[in-house]
């Protein structure tokens, strides 16, 4: 167990190191210069040179990377060039909870609605329900989420005035206010996932329901709900968990658009702004956080497999 843990930690560290080096160099090699942007209309070659030296951007690229890495592993995330805030505060304390809240709410919504609807359309295969669900799956996966967000804003926010169109209220400070503000962003972000979950649940369950052990369970006279939810769903969970693990990345990049449309101060907006402003250190912090998040989820998924499928348990 200890060796397994050690291997996981080393693997994670290696992946993060590669990710950080790649994102650092890609951004550095992209055309554009943060100092020119920071100076705005007050640009002059002297001011430029002074600021470059002050920020240490005149160092060779590998030196800048090494310096950043050394500080980062010591827990010093640096300071944003533009806002002059400590990046740890900005990225980890302020932005990350917003994105996590949005992601958890969206994922929760997607599972709570996607799974039952998937079950329903599998059980009532080829009914009107099923056709409706298929139409939802098609539009849900094909519809661009930012556009859905804008439509929701205009319909429910502006025309009907039912929901707030912007801003984040922390649910841990104000539960109802938080959920109220989260409603439209969470619907926007969760729609494509809901569609995916629905489709996977339905497809897997339809197959499972034709298995002999289901017929046996029915023959034993077990109630229908038990056949579906206990015997059937057990085998649906595996592909579902795999799907969620794999889709976390797209959930995070969906968050970028959702956060921009709804003006949420999360990691996605932080990274977009930082990329546009060429704020290397902020982007690095964002990449490291999302990288860790994805690795962590994959780890959780790996750990869940043996729980869900006895055949995968070590003997």
């Amino acid at each position: 167990m200890f060796r397994w843990g050690l291997r996981q930690v080393l693997q994670t560290a290696a992946v993060l190191l590669i990710v950080s080096a790649v994102s650092f160099s890609v951004l550095k090699l992209a055309p554009g210069d943060p100092v020119e942007l920071m100076l705005g209309d007050e640009y002059s070659p002297e001011a430029h040179a002074a600021l470059v030296a002050e920020l240490g951007l005149d160092q060779p690229l590998p030196v800048q990377y090494a310096e950043w890495l050394w500080r980062f592993v010591q827990g010093d995330w640096g300071t944003s060039f533009i806002s002059r805030t400590p990046i740890f505060q900005y990225a980890f304390v302020e932005a990350l909870p917003v994105t996590l809240t949005l992601a958890i709410a969206s994922l929760g919504l997607a599972i709570l609605l996607g799974v039952p609807l998937g079950v329903l359309s599998a059980v009532r295969k080829d009914s009107a329900w099923d056709a409706g669900a298929a139409a939802f799956v098609l539009t849900g996966t094909a519809f661009p989420s930012f556009y859905l967000g804008i439509l929701l804003i205009w319909f429910f926010g502006v025309s009907l005035g039912l929901f707030p169109t912007m801003g984040f209220v922390a649910p841990w400070n104000d539960l109802w206010g938080g959920l109220y503000h989260l409603a439209m962003p969470a619907i926007t972000l969760s729609t494509p996932f809901m569609a995916l979950i629905l489709r996977t649940t339905r497809a897997t369950l339809v197959e499972v329901m034709e298995q002999p052990y289901i017929a046996a369970a029915r023959a034993r006279g077990e109630p229908a709900w038990r056949v579906v939810w206990v015997h059937g769903m057990r085998n649906v969970l595996m592909p579902l968990v795999t799907l969620l693990g794999l889709q976390l990345g797209s959930l995070l990049h969906g968050a970028v658009l959702t956060e921009t449309v709804f003006s949420l101060p999360g990691v996605g907006r932080m990274i977009t702004d930082a990329v546009l402003n060429r704020e290397y250190v902020v982007v690095q912090a964002g990449v490291m956080m999302t990288g860790c998040l994805i690795i962590l989820t994959n780890l959780v998924v790996d750990l869940l497999y043996p729980l869900l499928d006895p055949r995968l348990r070590p003997r």
Partner: protein, 531 residues
């Protein structure tokens, strides 16, 4: 015989701005009508205003900003030695932290300060504090990007605890603009104690003397200000609290505005203006300000090292059509860089005068026939979606240029790359705007004098340089205007730019918001605002 130098300066500034009233479109008038038509329902005082801020805020340290979006916030936290006021007809510069302003000769300014002004941290704002703050701009390290405004400063002396004397090396007509707390930035007074306490973090912990104190700034979310109960202008401010929502995405801000989740917008892209004007619950403020949009042509390399080709481009663009298609019908055609608000210098009848650049396809074709290269040319036109007008200007101009055999090749890039290409001169054409200028010097000198930082076209003309240098030290408006007419004629004829339009800057407020005093310098001052 002693000359009243202050009077000379005041006259000059008054004439410069006096004619604004003729050009006031929708803004000020609409605001006055709105306030008088709707009786104030609630008693004045109190309230929490929420504003959508779509412009970029870089820092709340006024001496280190390069962005108008930040200056709009600064005006509510700090005071200047002078301020810009607008009575609905004339813009003038009057004492703000000062109670009086005297000019014993044309290069000495004496300011008597208001007694009992305190910074938000309780420190007195006296002559020493003012001297320290101005010297921070003039000589501070790291160097303030606004230090050039004090290039002509000889020394600052404290005559007594409430009197400051500024001695300049030569008469400097631009000084009043530089000393306002608004776009001037150099005369904005900051707390020495706070700067010394916070160091480089002062921009996130601003301490001034203004009507509102800083409370918090959460990245990408909001900046919160609260009433300064000890503000020196009695009875002000009226609001208790100000929340500035940092939105960036204009369509989200418009949605928030229309659904009543915010009470105002700091700015508004042209594509939303007509929609917002149609809303009965909103007031749209906006008039033509000191600005011009243009296409810069790179004179340092082929094909635009050829003056006739540049002239052909300048006359091939149909400004009326451009305004309709790319500017949503908002704005007026520009003939030269000097814009209507600079009324001492702007020629009202410029359209009929034959001066400057305008659409004349025959003329354009005649110049094209004289160009060195007669085959089709394919200049590189760099375009960024994050510019003020997106890609619309470039797209509209493209077919106009094809008529004279100029097939511009678009290169669409994001802003950081665009700025890099512009600054390094790696382009043939680009579209841009110069804005928030209150004086012809600011409008012409840094942009077109040879070797200046903003002269991205790389254009140089010795006679032009001589004329605008001379115009800097001449105080008499008529003599100065003659110099600028000659200089502009050279500039427009040699055409390192194709000038396009002058535009309004917009501020949107809910009709619930009362008491807003519009000043046409792209500011959003909340001193007198209430519900």
């Amino acid at each position: 015989m002693p000359t009243d130098h202050k009077q000379v300066l005041a006259t000059r500034l008054a004439t410069q701005f006096g004619r604004r009233r003729l050009l006031r479109g929708l803004g000020g008038g609409a605001a006055l009508a709105a306030t008088s038509a709707t009786p104030t329902a609630a008693a004045a005082g109190g309230g929490h205003i929420r504003l959508a801020w779509i412009d970029f805020v870089d820092t709340l340290d006024p001496h280190f900003t390069g962005f108008l979006g930040a200056i709009k916030v600064h005006n509510n936290i700090y005071n200047g030695i002078l301020k810009t006021v607008y009575d609905g007809t004339t813009v003038s510069f009057v004492p703000d932290l000062a109670t009086s302003w005297d000019m014993p000769d044309d290069r000495t300014h004496i300011f008597r300060l208001h007694p009992d002004v305190r910074f938000h941290d309780g420190d007195p704002c006296d002559a020493e504090a003012v001297k320290w703050s101005m010297e921070r701009v003039a000589y501070g390290k790291p160097k303030s990007p606004h230090a050039w405004k004090f290039d002509q400063l000889d020394r600052i002396e404290v005559l007594d605890p409430l009197t400051v004397k500024l001695s300049m090396k030569r008469p400097y007509a631009f000084l009043p603009v530089a000393l306002t707390g608004a776009t001037g930035r150099a005369g904005t007074i900051v707390s020495r104690k706070a700067v010394e306490t916070y160091g480089r973090d002062f921009g996130r912990n601003p301490v001034g003397t203004g009507p509102f104190r800083f409370v918090s700034w959460r990245e990408n979310d909001s900046i919160v200000l609260e009433k300064n109960p000890d503000y020196f202008e009695k009875g002000l401010p009226k609001l208790d609290r100000v929340t500035i929502r940092l939105m960036r995405e204009a369509s989200s801000a418009v949605a928030a505005m229309l659904s009543g989740q915010v009470d105002g917008m700091s700015n508004c892209p042209l594509q939303f203006v007509n929609q917002l004007k149609a809303s009965p619950s909103l007031t749209v403020h906006g008039e033509i300000e000191g600005n011009y949009s243009l296409i810069t042509m790179n004179c340092r390399r082929a094909p635009f090292d050829d003056v006739n080709l540049r002239r052909a481009v300048a006359f091939a663009i149909d400004r009326e059509a451009l305004i309709k298609q790319a500017f949503f019908g908002i704005g007026i055609p520009a003939y030269t860089p000097i814009s209507p608000p600079m009324s001492g210098f702007y020629d009202k009848a410029i359209a009929e005068s034959g001066r400057g650049q305008f659409f004349d396809l025959e003329k354009a074709k005649a110049f094209r026939a004289k160009a060195k290269v007669q085959d089709a040319v394919e200049p590189v036109f760099i375009v960024t979606e994050q510019g003020q007008y997106g890609t619309r200007v470039a797209q509209t101009v493209l077919p106009m240029l094809e008529k004279i055999g100029v097939k511009a090749k678009f290169e669409l890039m994001e802003r950081a790359a665009w700025v890099s290409r512009r600054n390094s001169g790696d382009f043939d054409m680009l579209e841009t705007t110069w804005s928030a200028d209150l004086d012809p010097d600011e409008t012409i000198y840094p942009e077109w004098h040879s070797g200046e930082n903003w002269n991205f076209a790389g254009w140089a003309n010795a006679e032009f340089d001589r004329l605008i240098e001379q115009a800097q030290v001449v105080i008499d408006v008529k003599a100065r205007r003659d110099l600028y007419v000659k200089a502009e004629d050279i500039l427009m004829d040699e055409a390192p730019l194709a000038i396009l339009t002058h535009m309004p800057e917009f501020k949107i407020l809910s009709k619930k918001v009362k008491g807003f005093q519009f000043v046409p310098n792209d500011s959003l001052n909340l001193h007198t605002v209430h519900f």
